[in-house]
């Protein structure tokens, strides 16, 4: 019978790793068994492959349900990773002995994907580690373990001590009733026994400390087998994906749950004597890079404080808590903001792992590849233009794909606004595939296994966390363009809630254009227009009601933004063509136009919109203009009104003589000083016009008595027709059917 030794570790514990490595070389095993799902064993063969650089994660996913997957992250300081490396470099047998993910994933996850894989602490109500830690004066179980195990430099007898401790702990707490824990431990026991019966003589088992007593427990093979009997299974496959420290530190469903991977890596790489100094030096150097003061003298003081703190707290040496307190007190003078940088860049760390290209990849990637193939959309590094006609089924799907990828922040395509062909049936994209997008695909794979599922999940998550109306509006817009129909109702619901709570009318106005476009072109894009319609009208009504109050008392900057918002809303009002809604809108504009406390830029704009839509006639408009230009107003106020009124197109002046005359009179009446003052403002307005328009206006000035008809009459048809043959030739169109 062979010797089995069980090494209880903490997942991702650098101290555990260090002790484990020295214990393994002392033990000289001929087989290494680690706590990883048995069906991930295929992935373990890649450990030791050059190019596989941690942090990486072993990903096990169900072949037929790619969304069902579990990540098992590994870092350079993870005991399992080091055990696997040890086995690889000594040519030993390496096995994964935990319950196969195939069984785990067959049980549809109730909420979040399972995370017990990477948890030190068990899931009993009264966490025994915390009780123990509190008894010895630590804040929680994690920091207690940290000091006792991870920051320990002398590993002798550590594993024996852990085994004894865990045994008495598990005896003292009631047995875990979680059926999954029971099954996992049964599976591990069976796997160890199997290795024994195969004749290995020195077997090293590396597993979470909590499981040690269970693996030592004498339990009959048949009992364990019956525990595992008849459990449903899925077909799974395992692969490696790059991982980041940031994700390891997420308390998200994939477990790991270590809060300071960057700090752990530091522990792993440095000797205990110089650990604190090196850490504080790194901190100081980071602070300097970020533009904060951090002198060498301060580092010395910080080291002294950290040492003194560990003495006050009865610790053999400073730990992260002491280092953080010393940093706060000495290096950042109590300021919080640099501490956040330190947390992100040092304590969590910014490392990204690598996986060589010959290792097969994540389900999202394969789904993307199959979509690319089906839609004949090859990823190319060179930039290329793509014009999509959305009436065409294939193009529509391509558009959906690109929009979905954009939601997942895989920015393969950038949509272009092409003048002349606005909206409707066409979309212009600029495509460029960049190598780091492969990484983004993997990053995005946590949201789901297919492009549609992942983008839906991510957008929904955003919808749940976003609370500002503009954020939700743009999200809703993206979701509709990406045709994520399954989540449209939820997003619309959130949007409506946010609109109800919104007090900022401008953001309501700004929400309208995007929604309006969707309604208008909904049938082309096959999006569900009716779900949008309800939200649109509710936002629209709120905006109309709030408009008069929202336009009062604005400063120049706010007024300019308000004008843009009003213009945007106007553009959809005319798109929708619903008389009742339109009336509501123009009534609100009327009120704004009549009020005196409204910024002139806004009043001018509003009057123009009313004039363009025929709600006021040119007599009214010129009266308003002369009111705005009357002595009561300062020249700059008048100029603002005119800017609002005339912005975009000056044709109105050519067609309405009255307006022309009022404006003309006003400009002529200005004294030199105010004229010089407002000249730049007027210039700015007129410079937005097209060249032709400006020329016509100039000509209009030259003949003061002339009317607008004079301009039209001046068109010489015979001369105008002369260049036509040449133009036809250039455009390659025949004369047939023309004119």
């Amino acid at each position: 019978m062979g010797e089995v030794r069980i090494f209880g570790i903490r997942h991702h514990g650098p101290g555990s790793s260090r002790s484990l490595l020295s214990a393994l070389s002392a033990f000289q095993p001929d087989a290494v068994l680690i706590e990883a799902p048995a069906d991930a064993e295929a992935g373990l063969q890649f450990v030791g492959r050059t190019g596989l650089v941690p942090p990486v994660a072993l990903l096990v996913y169900a072949l037929d349900h790619p969304t069902r997957s579990n990540f098992y992250p590994q870092t350079i300081f993870s005991p399992e990773w080091n055990a696997a490396q040890f086995a690889f470099s000594n040519g030993l047998i390496l096995r994964a002995i935990d319950l196969p993910a195939a069984i785990r994933l067959a049980d549809p996850p109730s909420e979040e994907p399972e995370d017990s894989e990477d948890k030190l602490l068990p899931t009993t109500n009264q966490d025994p580690f915390t009780l123990l830690a509190e008894a010895s004066g630590y804040a929680d179980g994690e920091s207690w373990w940290e000091h006792l195990v991870e920051e320990r430099s002398d590993p002798t007898d550590l594993f024996q001590a852990i085994t004894e401790l865990m045994t008495s702990l598990r005896e003292a707490t009631r047995e875990d009733s979680d059926p999954w824990e029971v099954r996992r431990e049964a599976h591990m026991r069976l796997a160890v026994r199997k290795a024994e019966s195969e004749g290995f003589s020195r077997i090293a088992v590396v597993c979470g400390a909590w499981h040690v007593p269970a693996l030592l427990k004498k339990s009959s093979v048949s009992a364990d087998q019956s525990t595992l009997k008849g459990l449903p299974k899925l077909k799974t496959t395992a692969t490696w994906v790059p991982y980041t420290y940031e994700r390891i530190s997420y308390a998200s469903g994939y477990g790991a749950g270590i809060r300071s991977p960057g700090y752990y890596e530091h522990l792993w790489h440095s000797s205990p004597e110089t650990m604190a100094q090196r850490w504080l030096l790194k901190t100081a150097r980071l602070l300097r890079e970020e533009g904060f003061d951090a002198s060498t003298a301060s580092v010395i003081e910080a080291v002294r404080l950290a040492d003194a703190l560990s003495a006050v707290r009865d610790r053999p040496m400073p730990g992260l808590r002491e280092l953080a307190d010393a940093t706060r007190s000495v290096l950042t003078n109590g300021h919080e903001e640099p501490l956040q940088i330190i947390h992100r860049k040092l304590i969590v760390g910014v490392r990204i792992g690598q996986v060589p290209s010959d290792i097969p990849t994540v389900p999202l990637q394969s789904d993307l590849e199959s979509l690319q193939k089906r839609l004949r959309l090859k990823p190319e590094a060179l930039e290329r233009k793509l014009e999509l006609d959305l009436r065409n089924e294939n193009d529509l799907e391509r558009s959906h794909l690109l929009h979905r990828l954009a939601i997942l922040k895989i920015e393969w395509g950038h949509i272009q606004t092409v003048s002349g062909k606005r909206g409707t049936f066409h979309e212009h994209w600029l495509l460029r595939w960049q190598p780091e997008m492969a990484m983004h695909v993997i990053e995005a794979s946590r949201w789901g296994g297919t492009v549609e599922a992942a983008s839906s999940a991510k957008a929904l998550e955003h919808a749940k966390s976003a609370d500002s109306l503009p954020a939700l509006t743009s999200l809703a817009h993206d979701v509709l363009l990406a045709a994520l129909d399954s989540i449209v109702p939820e997003v619309m619901h959130r949007l409506e809630d946010a609109a109800a709570a919104a007090t900022d009318t401008r953001s309501l106005l700004e929400a309208l254009p995007a929604l309006g476009r969707v309604m208008r072109y909904g049938d082309v894009r096959k999006t569900s227009a009716e779900s949008v319609g309800h939200v649109f009208s509710s936002i629209f009504v709120r905006a109309c009601v709030g408009l008069p109050a929202a336009t009062a008392q604005l400063d120049n900057e706010a007024a300019a933004l308000m004008v843009v918002a009003i213009d945007g809303a106007q553009s959809v009002v005319s798109l929708i063509a619903d008389a009742e809604r339109e009336q509501l809108w123009f009534d609100a504009l009327q009120v704004v136009g009549d009020r005196a406390d409204v910024h002139r830029l806004v009043s001018g704009r509003v009057v123009r919109l009313l004039l363009d839509s025929g709600r006021v006639d040119s007599d009214d408009a010129s009266m308003k203009l002369s009111l705005a230009a009357s002595v009561g107003a300062t020249p700059s106020e008048t100029a603002a009104w005119i800017e609002g009124f005339l912005a975009g197109s000056g044709a109105v002046l050519l067609h309405h003589d009255k307006l022309w005359n009022v404006l003309d009179e006003w400009v002529s009446s200005l004294a030199e000083e105010p004229f010089m003052e407002i000249l730049p403002l007027l210039r700015r307005t007129f410079s937005t016009y097209s060249k032709g328009e400006r020329r016509q206006l100039g000509e209009r000035v030259r003949e003061p008595g002339g009317t607008s008809k004079a301009i039209e009459e001046s068109l010489d048809e015979i001369r105008a027709e002369r260049p036509l043959p040449l133009i036809r030739l250039m455009l390659g169109i025949g004369e047939t059917g023309d004119r």
């Binding site: 703190l309 003495a311 706060r328 003078n333």
Partner: protein, 359 residues
Amino acid sequence: MSNLLREHAEQAFAHELEEIGRADGRARPPKWRLSPWAVTTYILGGTLPNGFEVTPKYVGSRRLIETAVATLATDRALLLLGVPGTAKTWLSEHLAAAISGDSTMLVQGTAGTGEEAVRFGWNYARLLAEGPSPAAMVASPVMRAMTEGKIARIEELTRISSEVQDALITILSEKTLPVSELDIEIQAVKGFNVIATANDRDRGVNELSSALRRRFNTIVLPLPETLEEEMQIVSQRAAAIGRALELPAEAPSLEQVRRLVTIFRELRAGVTQDGKTRLKVPSGTLSTAEAISVLNNGQALAAHFGDGTLRAADLAAGLVGAVVKDPTNDPAIWKEYLETVVRERDGWKDLYRACKEVG
């Protein structure tokens, strides 16, 4: 009971300090009366091995106190920073009392604090009669602390003018006080250190020069984190002050304290405790210290003009005064709060009516 109006920390808690000293078997830094561990216990309270109960002097994060004590143990000066009423002075007094057994080496920083308050002055009569000599010098609290190896306290450091502040640099970095007139220097003995306090709310303060700042370890004292924590502080302190002033009133009921602290916290945070209603924030700081003084005020009223039991009416007068600091905006803010929150709350009718009466 002594007839002093207010006792120093080392007088008021002499018994506790003595008990802790007896139980404290750990290593003490030179000239320290207690070990760092015992100082922490004195400040945060706890039970000694012999069962003696130490009352908590400061309610809040253990980490902060440990960092403060460790700072003083490394002979670095300590700067306590925070908005008014976050127990900076209180903490510095108790730290000095526990470490040196003497919290009286105190410099109160004001715009008029001169160099002689930080370094030394001259006894001019003697100076004229005998010429310059060490005997003609008048030691400042800081200088006395240096020669006796004790903790010197500087209150409101940022209110002192920059030139005077910088006189501290030599003292803190070289631990010496040169007297150029006599060509001598006064070197600090072991055990000397400085605790300074400064508030970061005041406008028009004299920012510390970076040279001076570098010589301090900074600890920012926060406002109490939870309602329960703040309740504990307020009721405990109010009771203690009430005792000292020999107010015959009963201790305030927890319910009154809770209402008071709730009002302070809500107005400070600009949102009600349940997170449902947004509130405007008045201009005052509404610190815990002010809550304590409102409570004391109310107790005094109850004792001398009421039946000895603290009632809503006794609280209302002080409460309105504490909230309404700026006569233009605060009254409207307070009225809005009164009408929308106080009025609607179950069991707060008496307080509502009392506040309405005050105005």
